[in-house]
């Protein structure tokens, strides 16, 4: 991971450039969807956010499992970074989702299964970050966070299926014309670079915090 860090600025630049291209794709290239009309275009922004938010939480799940298995601090740091980014992306997905719901159904919040799942995930991972923020022994906190990271992700499919069963509103499954599919894939792919850049940056921050702690520990040991 350390080796990747110098790549971050290039990733961010490439990501930014690609996303600008995507804006053009969304507004000009993709045809306006027949039934929903223009607001449907928010979808091209909403979906990547939600998708990469979910992917971040999946990364937290994997990193938590790896931490419990190997007890290497690296995985704990990665889980923390991924969780924070995941929460930021999921929150933005919620906002864009609400705006999309407002334009297409006239009300800010619908019991659409995907939106509900994203909301519940935001609550779960906000709780996760609260636990990470508490001052305990680093390895105890890491172990508790790892357990939470695993349990939280296992809950996501259950939340999705129960929300879908719960909500009467089944959004009309819009048929995606080929150009729409290309735009969607382009948006999700270009978002990958931004996501990776974000993750590297946040991971770097967490790593610096640990370096600071380690050097103070080392200084103490040498002066004993």
């Amino acid at each position: 991971m350390a080796g990747l860090y110098p790549l971050a600025p290039f990733l961010a630049l490439a990501g930014g450039f690609l996303l600008a291209a995507c804006q053009w794709l969304i507004l000009v290239y993709a045809p306006t969807e027949a039934t929903l009309g223009l607001p449907q275009k928010i979808f091209y922004l909403h979906l990547p956010l939600a998708w990469w938010g979910l992917f971040s939480f999946f990364l937290v799940f994997i990193a938590s499992g790896a931490y419990l298995a190997s007890r290497k601090r690296f995985w704990d740091v990665l889980a923390g970074a991924a969780a924070e980014i995941g929460l930021a992306l999921a929150a933005l997905a919620l906002i864009s989702g609400a705006i999309w719901a407002k334009t297409s159904w006239g009300l800010w919040w619908t019991w659409d299964a995907r939106l509900t799942t994203t909301l519940v995930m935001c609550f779960i991972y906000a709780g996760y970050l609260v636990v990470r923020g508490m001052d305990m022994q680093p390895d105890r906190r890491a172990r508790i966070a790892a357990v939470l990271g695993i349990v939280a992700f296992l809950d996501v499919p259950l939340v999705f299926f129960s929300a879908r069963l719960w909500s009467y509103i089944h959004p009309p499954s819009i048929s995606l014309e080929p150009e729409m599919k290309h735009t969607l894939v382009a948006c999700i792919a270009s978002f990958a670079l931004l996501w990776l850049g974000l993750l590297l940056f946040r991971w770097r921050l967490a790593q610096d915090a640990i370096n600071l702690e380690e050097t103070t520990k080392e200084r103490l040991m040498r002066r004993e």
Binding site: L68, V120, I124, V131, M136, D139, I144, V151, A152
Partner: protein
């Protein structure tokens, strides 16, 4: 592991049933919640079946947070947690013991919440009550499975009840939705879509979280301060 779990559960039940320290507090909180929500009704008005079911499950969840905070608090008085960790049986025995004790206390509390919901929120039981009984049992198993795991996690922290709630409630969302939908069917007598979907989710929930609690509990419950 089972013998240790039963031993711990019986010890905990004897302690909490004692001078009503733990159980009474949790029970009063639940009943108070139901009563306070009944104030939202104009006299003679009846709450919707779904509203009443939601309040019943919310009272159960808050009560259960207090139950597990008390159950694990018992081990912090004179450092008994170290004794439990040193026991030859695996750590999961503690999780199972606390979960069993929590289940008994939760079911005991719910046998009071139900009449309170009927009286204060103006409901009556339809002939679908068997569904209600099933979802309560299955739901409670899931609640105590996670509650026991997370109850251990929040020990030794300040304001552990609130920490336990903010982490636990969103995780219980699938059970809440199922419990409320089936509960409102019990109160109203009609159920739009089939119940098997809900029971499928609830059983999956129990299976997933009993398994993950057994796998994860030892790394949460040890003597590290």
């Amino acid at each position: 592991m089972l013998k240790a779990a039963l031993l711990i559960a019986s010890k905990d039940l004897r302690l909490t049933m004692g001078r009503g320290s733990g159980l009474l507090q949790a029970l009063l909180l639940g009943l108070l919640l139901i009563f306070v929500f009944s104030l939202s009704l104009t006299p003679g008005q009846r709450m919707s079946a779904q509203g009443a079911a939601a309040i019943f499950w919310m009272a159960s969840a808050f009560c259960q947070v207090l139950i597990f905070s008390t159950l694990y608090g018992l081990e912090e008085i004179n450092g008994q947690r170290q004794g439990l960790v040193l026991a030859p049986s695996p750590a999961q025995g503690v999780w199972l013991g606390k979960a069993l004790a929590g289940l008994c206390l939760l079911v005991a509390s719910q046998t009071l919440f139900l009449p309170a919901t009927i009286v204060f929120l103006g409901q009556e039981i339809s002939d679908l009550w068997r569904l209600g009984l099933a979802i309560v049992i299955i739901g409670d198993i899931g609640i105590v499975a996670i509650g026991s795991l997370l109850g251990a996690l929040s020990q030794g922290q300040s304001a552990r009840e609130s920490l336990l709630s903010i982490v636990l409630f969103p995780l219980l969302a699938p059970l809440f939705l199922g419990g409320i939908r089936i509960g409102s069917a019990v109160f109203s007598g009609k159920l739009s879509e089939g119940a098997d979907g809900w029971f499928g989710i609830a059983l999956a929930f129990d299976a997933i979280f009993v398994a993950s609690a057994l796998a994860l509990f030892p790394s949460v419950y040890n003597a590290e301060e």
